[in-house]
């Protein structure tokens, strides 16, 4: 038995009372799922189907993940300075100082 959520009553702002979901689509086998956008749905089952109709109708994908937006914890843009800038002058962290043998492809 599926755990169906009850749709909101008629009237009002429609999907406005349904939670927001973030949608991730894998464009083809072997690639990562990429965030493509968000949508409203009453539960996970509906979110997958809505994502299928909204985000894969032009052959964009072969697999979909959805997660309710409230479960995503995001970094604070105001803290960008302390979080990311210290990495800017540490170029030795990039593996760019090695001589690569010619035999090594795809690096």
């Amino acid at each position: 038995m599926k755990d169906y959520k009850v749709p909101p009553p008629a009237g009002g702002s429609g999907g406005g009372s349904w939670p927001l979901w973030e949608v991730f689509v894998r464009s083809k086998q072997g690639l990562d799922h990429k965030h493509v956008g968000s949508l409203h749905a009453a539960d996970a089952t509906m979110a997958i189907e809505n994502a299928r109709d909204v985000y894969t109708r032009r052959q964009e994908g072969v697999s979909i993940w959805v997660v309710e937006s409230k479960y995503i914890t995001a970094s604070n843009p105001e803290e960008a300075g302390e979080l990311y800038e210290p990495a800017a002058d540490k170029i030795y962290r990039h593996p760019t100082f090695y001589e690569l043998p010619d035999e090594v492809a795809h690096m």
């Binding site: 038995m1 169906y4 999907g15 349904w18 509906m46 299928r52 109709d53």
Partner: protein, 271 residues
């Protein structure tokens, strides 16, 4: 046999076209953006199916007009030649959709019923998709290669339509007091048109299977979805028939008026 094949192909085409037109009425009016896109996607799937069937029917009719054609009888049967004469020298998918009258459409009554509320629309879709699923499953093994190919292609689409509409029937049936009541109203409105699906018209003999035999599996599907949706299948309802042979409810005329207006007012108008 040839006339029968043309009529059967038109019947399949009309079913898809009329339901596509009904669902397209939701465009811009869906309960939320996501469902607006879902129902219009389904509409477009059905329009695509109807185009495939109309193209095939047009081809069959055109071939029959070639004098001495080996495959087709010349002339066509009486009921067909009556409107084929009106459709111009070369029959096309558009001519078949836009220039036949109400009595010449062979879609089932269920397809032409009004959208009503969302409950009525999703229930109509569920009844029809469950039917089309079983129908195309059989038809994909038809001896007629063209019909078999169209059915095989459409089957994936219909599988999704069935899944999508079942989810909604369950969601509303097993939802709030109001959504449950709306499903009950929808069943009350639509059940009487489901009997016709399984009563074969003469031309369905060409299908290669008896459409009446699909009823058992269809009832199984409806029962299992209704059970989960806490809904009951009505008993002893008088079943309306006639759509397959051109005797329609009052709704079809209005659908065709909107659908055909432009081509009848400005024949051969193009985008």
């Amino acid at each position: 046999m040839y006339n029968t094949l043309v009529n059967y192909t038109l019947h399949l085409a009309d079913n898809s076209l009329i339901l596509a037109q009904r669902n397209a009425e939701w465009c811009g009016h869906g309960p939320i953006l996501e469902q607006d896109i879902a129902i219009t996607n389904i509409s477009l799937d059905q329009l695509g199916q109807s185009r495939n069937f109309y193209q095939y029917a047009a081809n069959l009719i055109n071939v029959s007009k070639i004098p001495g054609s080996l495959k087709a009888p010349s002339p066509l049967g009486e009921s067909l030649s009556r409107f084929v004469g009106r459709l111009g020298s070369e029959v096309t998918e558009d001519r078949l959709a836009y220039f036949r009258t109400e009595r010449e459409f062979k879609n089932c009554l269920l397809a032409e019923q009004p959208n009503g509320d969302w409950a009525q629309t999703v229930l109509r879709q569920f009844f029809f998709s469950a039917y089309q699923f079983l129908l195309y499953e059989k038809l994909q093994h038809s001896n007629d290669e063209q019909l078999a190919a169209i059915a095989a292609k459409a089957l994936k689409e219909v599988t999704y339509h069935q899944r999508w509409s079942s989810e909604w029937v369950i969601r509303l049936g097993d939802g709030t007091e109001e959504s449950h009541q709306r499903m009950l109203n929808a069943i009350d409105e639509l059940w009487r048109y489901t009997g016709e699906l399984f009563i074969a018209a003469d031309y369905e003999a060409v299908a290669g299977f008896d459409v009446a035999l699909l009823k058992e599996d269809w009832m199984k599907k409806v029962n299992s979805v209704f059970e989960e949706a806490t809904l009951a299948v009505p008993e002893k309802v008088f079943m309306q028939t006639g759509g397959k042979t051109g005797t329609h409810t009052e709704h079809l005329g209005y659908i065709l008026a909107e659908l055909q207006y432009l081509q009848r007012t400005y024949p051969n108008a193009e985008w």
